[in-house]
């Protein structure tokens, strides 16, 4: 008897694929969905990224906003596709009918997620074409491909959030509620205009938004200033996806909808385990050998090395930092630190830029000390992300050696300057191309303390610090600042 109800594998596969195609066509034909999700990112980018940017002669902004509008584009299809459609179809009885029919398990959700990712792919392609041909943005193929992947996979956390909204709210209220989540989150994550133009309190709170993390990954890919590490962002985004997906399924199941077939618990357990594995892998990449104490964590670490092709993290462990608390007082007649190489003035000439800096010891250090390090120079317009300042390499040849600062709690330095914003930069991690920490601070005529609580910057691989720098990325023009009494304790 059972042969009657047995679906052949190919028919089942075709049913899933057909469901995806159906969902895609349906979404394309629904103007309330297709117009805002497809055209808003493109239109906004054209207006704010390309037109306004080029009016100010700022092609750097066109590139940066290209990355962030891609993330904006990645949010809409998932949020609206699930948030609005699920709410409406739940109420209209369609979901009930689908459950009575032998719709393959999970097909409803998979088709929608695939549709959202396809839409995001289309948006990413259109943005890329516009950036390259209209915005005159220079972009390598690898950067474009990475951004595409970030955007398309980045649709998933927003699918999960949309699912949760769609499970909770009424169909009539859903568009308004989705917009209330979508638009503020996009703005507060710096997707419409760069974060540095925002009040500090918003910058501080930005990491609570999943879109912020996706944006940092995208910005890092195009070489724009960004914070955190890729693996840290992946861990956060996977966590967001998992939590909202589980919340949504719990809610739907409570209202009598079985979207995952006859054995939802098994499916949920598999999804949760997969999500947890991704998070564990990401975290083990971030924290390196820290969790190697347990067997599971070390297995995860091995898997990361195998997956990424990076050397065994244990082998590339930072050298334990010396006990010395004062890293540099600049009172001994030179700019050398207690250990390592530097401080030395650095520009962006090596990256093809024309920003430069020189440094010298000057009398009158902080808190009445003998002298301080003064750095002067000019930020040029040669490359998109200029930098000039002074750099310190704690261990061995510049950028090559790794130092383990995980035993330290705070980093402080005294600074004063011409009133520009400067930043303290920490380059860390196994991958040289990792995104550095950039901690902004203001300067004035008086000495001020810049203080970094190391534990708060968990995205920095404090076990493997390559370089610490102080400098500026712009705006274009001359600059002057002094630093003194750099401490790590």
């Amino acid at each position: 008897m059972n042969t009657v109800s047995n679906m052949s594998g190919s028919r089942l596969w075709a049913a899933y694929l057909g469901e995806m195609r159906f969902e895609f066509i349906k979404s394309l034909r629904t103007p309330a969905f297709a117009v805002p999700t497809l055209f808003f990112p493109i239109l906004f980018y054209l207006m704010f990224g390309i037109l306004f940017g080029s009016m100010r002669g700022n092609s750097k902004q066109a590139l940066e906003l290209f990355a962030t509008y891609g993330v904006f584009g990645a949010m809409g299809p998932g949020l609206f596709g699930f948030g609005v459609s699920l709410a409406i179809e739940r109420e209209q009885g369609l979901l009930t009918l689908k459950q009575a029919l032998p719709q393959p398990p999970g097909a409803y959700l998979l088709a929608r997620a695939a549709m959202a990712m396809l839409f995001v792919g289309i948006i990413a392609l259109m943005l890329t074409l516009m950036a390259v041909f209209v915005g005159q943005v220079t972009l390598t193929f690898s950067q474009a491909a990475q951004l595409f992947a970030i955007d398309v996979l980045g649709a998933l956390p927003f699918c999960a959030i949309g699912m949760w909204v769609g499970a909770m709210v009424s169909g009539a209220a859903s568009p308004a509620i989705v917009n209330l989540i979508f638009l503020p989150m996009a703005f507060l994550s710096g997707l419409w205009m760069p974060m540095q133009y925002m009040p500090k309190v918003l910058i501080d709170f930005a990491p609570i938004w999943p879109s912020f993390h996706l944006a940092q990954m995208a910005l890092g890919t195009v070489g724009a200033p960004s914070s955190g590490t890729v693996l840290g962002h992946v861990a956060v985004l996977t966590g967001v996806t998992l939590v909202f997906f589980l919340l949504a399924m719990r809610r739907m199941h409570g209202s009598g909808f079985r979207l995952l077939g006859a054995r939802p618990k098994r499916t949920l357990a598999i999804v949760a385990a997969a999500g947890a594995a991704v998070i564990a892998l990401s975290m083990s990449g971030v924290f390196g050998g820290k969790q190697a104490a347990t067997e599971a964590a070390s297995a995860a670490t091995d898997a990361t090395s195998a997956a990424t092709g990076t050397p065994d993290p244990e082998a590339a462990r930072g050298v334990a930092a010396p006990e010395a608390i004062v890293l540099a007082s600049f009172d001994g007649g030179s700019a050398t630190a207690a250990y390592g190489v530097g401080w030395s003035a650095a520009g962006d000439g090596m990256r093809g830029g024309n920003s430069s800096a020189t440094q010298q010891l000057v009398d009158g250090g902080a808190a009445g000390s003998k002298s301080a390090l003064e750095v002067t120079g000019t930020i040029g317009d040669g490359i998109q992300y200029p930098f000039a300042g002074t750099m310190f390499f704690p261990q061995g040849p510049p950028m090559q050696g790794l130092m383990d600062y995980s035993g330290k709690k705070t980093m402080t330095l005294q600074a004063r300057g011409d009133g520009r914003r400067y930043m303290l930069m920490v380059i860390s991690g196994l991958a040289v191309e990792g995104i550095p920490l950039m901690f902004d601070f203001e300067t004035g005529p008086e000495w001020r303390e810049v203080r970094l609580d190391l534990a708060k910057f968990s995205n920095v691989d404090w076990k493997r610090v390559r370089a610490i720098g102080v400098g500026t990325m712009g705006p274009v023009g001359p600059f002057r600042f002094q630093i003194d009494d750099v401490r790590l304790e």
């Binding site: 009657v4 047995n6 028919r11 469901e19 349906k26």
Partner: protein
């Protein structure tokens, strides 16, 4: 194909807050039959069907579809479903909807064959949302049958259809039954059950109260309906023994009685000019009203 009971509910109890929607309800659908489930609003018809379809879980009792729990997809791959209140995606065309639903089944009918069988050709060019209410029901019926189901669930299938469309739908339902498909019909239209059903199950307040063929259900009702043209007034006849109800409808007197023979003798005696006489056994409508009223009195 030895299995004779395709779907069954046994001892089902289901409570929603203070309302006991089903109170030990049993139902079995056998191969090849057309079973109509009747009952007044709130009798528990929809709850029973949704438990049988796996849309709700029973508090107590067992539900089976082709030997499986209804939540399992295996049983549901052998059924077709037409629901009463459902809004399908308005931007999709009927053929796209049919292709999608047909893809869920192992051996569906050819979509074009279904379109031809139900004469849906004229509806194909318009998106579903632009169809009239009756046309939408026809598409929904097509979706229900396209998977070549062995058991078809029809919930108020002819609601919103004009007479012609209803007759056409009935014709296909009879054909399908002829081809071996079993059908579980829930309906408010008693004439629909009378026209189609082999067997009727009457529900009231979450329980099965009577079952059998249409004729058997009718036999539960002892009343007959006598109608004639007479000079006698309704008031005078109402006083006679065994007369349950009398009404004057235009020029005809309608009398409902338990003893038609005695009534007729007296009618001819009192009005020899009496003409155009008609005696009818009660229809399913009367049987149904009587059965459910009776059960309500018992419950009270």
């Amino acid at each position: 194909m030895t299995q004779t009971t395709l779907a069954s509910l046994k001892g089902i109890r289901k409570r929603f807050g203070k309302v006991q929607a089903l109170d030990g309800f049993d139902l079995a659908v056998n191969r090849g039959e057309l079973l109509a489930v009747l009952g007044p609003n709130g009798a528990g018809k929809s709850t029973a069907i949704s438990i049988l379809l796996g849309l709700q879980a029973a508090d107590e009792g067992t539900a089976e579809l082709f030997g499986h729990a209804p939540q399992e997809i295996d049983g549901r791959r052998r059924i077709g479903v037409m629901m009463q209140e459902v809004m399908l995606p308005g931007v999709m065309r009927p053929r796209e909807l049919l292709e999608q639903v047909a893809s869920y089944y192992p051996t569906p009918y050819d979509v074009d064959a279904v379109i031809a069988r139900l004469s849906l050709e004229n509806l194909l060019k318009r998106p579903y949302g632009k169809l009239s209410g009756g046309q939408k029901r026809q598409v929904q019926f097509a979706l229900a049958i396209c998977g070549r189901p062995e058991l078809l669930f029809l919930d108020e299938p002819s609601a919103g259809l004009d007479v012609q469309a209803r007759e056409a739908l009935w014709k296909v339902v009879r054909e399908l039954q002829h081809e071996g498909c079993s059908i579980l019909l829930t309906t408010h239209y008693l004439e629909e059950a009378e026209a189609l059903a082999d067997r009727v199950a009457v529900m009231a307040r979450g329980r099965f109260i009577a079952g059998g063929s249409v004729n058997e259900i009718r036999a539960h009702v002892t009343r007959k309906q006598v109608s004639c043209v007479t000079r006698l007034t309704a008031d005078s006849v109402r006083a006679w023994p065994d007369v349950a109800q009398v009404e004057m409808e235009r020029d005809r007197l309608q009398i409902s009685t338990r003893n038609a023979e005695a009534l007729l003798v007296r009618l001819f005696r009192e009005d020899p000019q009496l003409s155009d006489i008609e005696v009818k056994r009660a229809g399913l409508a009367e049987a149904f009203t009587e059965l459910t009223n009776h059960s309500a009195r018992e419950a009270a």
